[in-house]
C-alpha cells in the first residue's frame, strides 16, 4: 500500500507542500515569458498538480530498488532515469496543452528532475520508517511465540505422558535399583531446569538445544528401556550455530509420542545437523507404525515451529515433513548464525 495515498491526511499534507513549489513555478514562467502573474499561475497550477501525482510513483521505484551499499550505481541510474523520464513526460504534455510552456522548457525540465529526486528521497525515508516498524512488529511476534513455546514446554513437564510416568519409573526404581532412581531424578531435574532457562533467551547455540533433547530422551530411555534407541549425527560447525530456543523440543517430543509409543518392538530417533555454505540443516527422524491413525495432534507443535521460523527468518528458512514408508522426517533449514553474530 502506498504510504501517502493510503491516508487522506498524508495526501493533504503532501499536496500542501507543493503550494510553494507551484508559486515558484509561476514566478519562473512569469519571468521567462510575456505574461501576467495571474496567467502564469493558471499555467503552473495544473502542471504542478499533475507532477505532484507523477512523483508519487517514486514509491514503486524505491521498493524495487532499495538502498544498499553495494548497489549505488544501480540506485543512481534507476532514480535519475526515472526522474528524467517523468520530467520529460510532464513538460511534453504541458507543451502539447499550451505552447507558452516552451519558453521555459529547459528550466522546467531541470526543476522536474530535481523535484522527482526529492520525492524519491522522501519515499526512501518513508520506506525505512515502515520497514523498521515491521521489524519491530516481527520481533514482538517472535517474542510472543517463544513465550508460547516455553509455556508449552512447561505444560509438557506436567503432561501425564511425561512427568507422571517418569515419576512412576523413579518410584519403581527406588527399591529395585536406588542408584538408578537417583540418576533418573537428576536427569529429570536437568531437563526441567534447562528447558526453563532456555525460553528466556532469544537465541541459543544448537549444542544447548541438543543437550535438552538428550536430557529428555535419557529420561524416556529409562522408562522405555531398550525400546527407545537414539542416534546422532551432528557436525562440529553445526553445534556452534545459534537457533531460536526450544526449537527442537516439540519435534523430539512428537517423535517419541507418535513413534515408539505406538510400536510394539520400540523404535529409533535420529538427530542430524550440518552446517555448510552459511546454511544450517537440522533433521529429526523416527520410525512409526504405518497402521496407526494419522497423527493429527502432531500439527500443533509443528505449526508452532514453522511459524517461529517464518517470523524470525522470513523466506530464508523452511520446514519440511517427509514420510518415507515407515520413517517420519522433519527437516529444518535456516541461515547459520555463528556465536557473536546475533
Amino acid at each position: 500500500m502506498h504510504p501517502i495515498l493510503a491516508s487522506k491526511a498524508r495526501l493533504g499534507l503532501y499536496l500542501l507542500a507543493w503550494l510553494p513549489l507551484v508559486a515558484m513555478l509561476s514566478r519562473l514562467l512569469a519571468a521567462s515569458g510575456d505574461m501576467s502573474w495571474y496567467e502564469a499561475l493558471a499555467l503552473a497550477a495544473p502542471l504542478g498538480v499533475l507532477y505532484a501525482f507523477v512523483c508519487l510513483s517514486a514509491w514503486y521505484l524505491c521498493r524495487f530498488v532499495p538502498i544498499r551499499p553495494s548497489g549505488v550505481p544501480r540506485l543512481l541510474l534507476a532514480n535519475l532515469s526515472a526522474a528524467a523520464l517523468a520530467s520529460l513526460l510532464c513538460v511534453t504534455i504541458g507543451m502539447g496543452l499550451d505552447a507558452r510552456y516552451a519558453q521555459a522548457a529547459q528550466q522546467l525540465l531541470v526543476i522536474g528532475v530535481l523535484l522527482y529526486l526529492l520525492a524519491a528521497a522522501l519515499h526512501y525515508v518513508l520506506l525505512a520508517l515502515e520497514s523498521s516498524r515491521a521489524a519491530e512488529r516481527r520481533e514482538m511476534e517472535a517474542r510472543i511465540l517463544t513465550r508460547e513455546a516455553e509455556l508449552k514446554a512447561l505444560k509438557a513437564q506436567v503432561d501425564p505422558h511425561f512427568l507422571f510416568n517418569s515419576l512412576h519409573s523413579i518410584s519403581a526404581l527406588t527399591s529395585a535399583d536406588p542408584g538408578r532412581a537417583r540418576e533418573m531424578c537428576v536427569l529429570l531435574s536437568d531437563f526441567l531446569r534447562r528447558s526453563l532457562g532456555l525460553g528466556e533467551r532469544t537465541s541459543v547455540p544448537l549444542e544447548e538445544e541438543l543437550s535438552l533433547a538428550r536430557d529428555f530422551l535419557a529420561v524416556e530411555q529409562v522408562r522405555f528401556g531398550s525400546r527407545l534407541r537414539v542416534e546422532e549425527d551432528i557436525d562440529a560447525a553445526a553445534r556452534l550455530c545459534r537457533v531460536p530456543p526450544l526449537l527442537l523440543q516439540p519435534l523430539v517430543e512428537n517423535a517419541v509420542r507418535h513413534g515408539i509409543t505406538n510400536l510394539l518392538e520400540g523404535g529409533w530417533i535420529r538427530l542430524e545437523a550440518r552446517s555448510t555454505d552459511g546454511r544450517l540443516e537440522i533433521a529429526v527422524e523416527n520410525n512409526f507404525d504405518r497402521d496407526a491413525p494419522a497423527p493429527r495432534r502432531n500439527g500443533l507443535g509443528l505449526a508452532n515451529v514453522r511459524k517461529r521460523l517464518e517470523v524470525r527468518y522470513g523466506s530464508a528458512a523452511r520446514l519440511e515433513v517427509r514420510v518415507l514408508e515407515d520413517r517420519y522426517r522433519v527437516e529444518l533449514e535456516l541461515p547459520a548464525e555463528r556465536e557473536g553474530e546475533s
Binding site: 501425564p160 505422558h161 507422571f164 510416568n165 515419576l167 512412576h168 519409573s169 523413579i170 518410584s171 519403581a172 526404581l173 527399591s175 529395585a176 529409562v222 522408562r223 522405555f224 528401556g225 509409543t261 505406538n262 510400536l263 510394539l264 507404525d289 497402521d291 496407526a292 491413525p293
Partner: protein
C-alpha cells in the same frame, strides 16, 4: 481350605518393564495372590487371558497398537480389573463404571493395598462383564480410529480408514476391508455410535458404509436404491439411509 486353593490368580499387563516390576514387588508380601504371567502389550494380554483365565487383572490403559480398553472389549467373561494409568480422566471414568479400582501412576503401597482389598472383596460378588466395562470407560467424545477383532487368540487391528462397509449379522457385525472380512461380537447400532458420522453413514438397517467408498447410487425399486462401491459391491439403501446420505452430501 489351603492357601494354594484360595489363591487369586492375577495377570500384570503393562508395556513398561519398570511398572511391571513395581507391581510384582508390591505383590510379593501377598502369598494369596499368584502372578500367572506378565504381559508387555495388549496382544500378549489377550492370549494370556484366554489361556490362563485370571481372576484379577492389573491393566495399563496406554499401550502400543492395542490399548487396555481394547483388550477388555475383546474378552468375554468376568474378571476383577484394576486399571493402572497416568491419566486421571481414564481412571475416573473407569471408577464410575465400576472397575474394581484404579491406580494412578505414581502410587504408593497404601493405595495399592487399598485397591487389592477392594478387589478381594469384589471377587466373591457378581462382577460386570468386562466388555461392558471397557465400552463405558472409553471417553465418549472420541470416535474410533481403529477396531480390534479377535479370531481365537489372534487379534487383528483394523484402522477405520481401511473399512469398506459393515454388515449386521445377528449379534455380530461383519467388517469388510479390502481383501478381508472379520466378525466382531457387537451390535451394528453400538458400532455406529463409535464411528465418525462425517465419514461413515448408516445406509440401511443392516449396513454402515465408508463414504469414500461410494461410487454412485442407483434406483433399485420404487422405494429403494442401491449403492455401488469402489470394489463393485452393491449395498441396499433404505429411504432413511438415502436421506442421511443426502444430508451429508449437502454439507460438502
Amino acid at each position: 481350605m489351603s492357601a494354594a486353593e484360595a489363591a487369586i490368580r492375577a495377570l500384570i499387563v503393562d508395556d513398561e518393564e519398570l511398572a511391571r516390576s513395581l507391581l510384582r514387588e508390591l505383590l510379593e508380601p501377598h502369598p494369596e495372590i499368584r502372578i500367572l504371567a506378565e504381559c508387555a502389550n495388549g496382544f500378549e494380554a489377550v492370549k494370556a487371558i484366554l489361556e490362563l483365565k485370571p481372576d484379577l487383572l492389573f491393566l495399563d490403559v496406554q499401550m502400543p497398537k492395542l490399548d487396555g480398553f481394547e483388550v477388555l472389549e475383546l474378552m468375554g467373561g468376568e474378571m476383577a480389573v484394576i486399571f493402572v494409568t497416568a491419566y486421571d480422566q481414564y481412571a475416573l471414568r473407569a471408577f464410575e463404571v465400576h472397575a474394581v479400582d484404579y491406580l494412578l501412576k505414581p502410587f504408593n503401597a497404601a493405595r495399592f493395598e487399598g485397591a487389592l482389598e477392594r478387589a478381594k472383596r469384589r471377587l466373591g460378588q457378581k462382577l460386570p462383564p468386562v466388555a461392558e466395562l471397557a465400552a463405558a470407560a472409553r471417553p465418549p467424545t472420541q470416535y474410533l480410529e481403529r477396531i480390534a477383532v479377535r479370531d481365537g487368540a489372534k487379534v487383528h487391528v483394523i484402522p477405520v480408514d481401511k473399512l469398506d462397509y459393515v454388515e449386521a449379522q445377528d449379534d455380530y457385525v461383519l467388517l469388510k476391508t479390502e481383501g478381508s472380512r472379520h466378525l466382531k461380537q457387537q451390535t451394528i447400532s453400538g458400532l455406529e455410535g463409535c464411528l465418525d458420522p462425517a465419514r461413515f453413514v448408516r445406509l440401511h438397517r443392516s449396513y454402515i458404509v465408508n463414504l469414500e467408498r461410494i461410487v454412485k447410487i442407483e434406483p433399485y425399486s420404487k422405494d429403494s436404491r442401491v449403492a455401488i462401491l469402489t470394489d463393485g459391491a452393491r449395498l441396499p439403501v433404505s429411504r432413511a439411509g438415502y436421506a442421511r446420505l443426502s444430508a451429508l452430501w449437502d454439507k460438502l
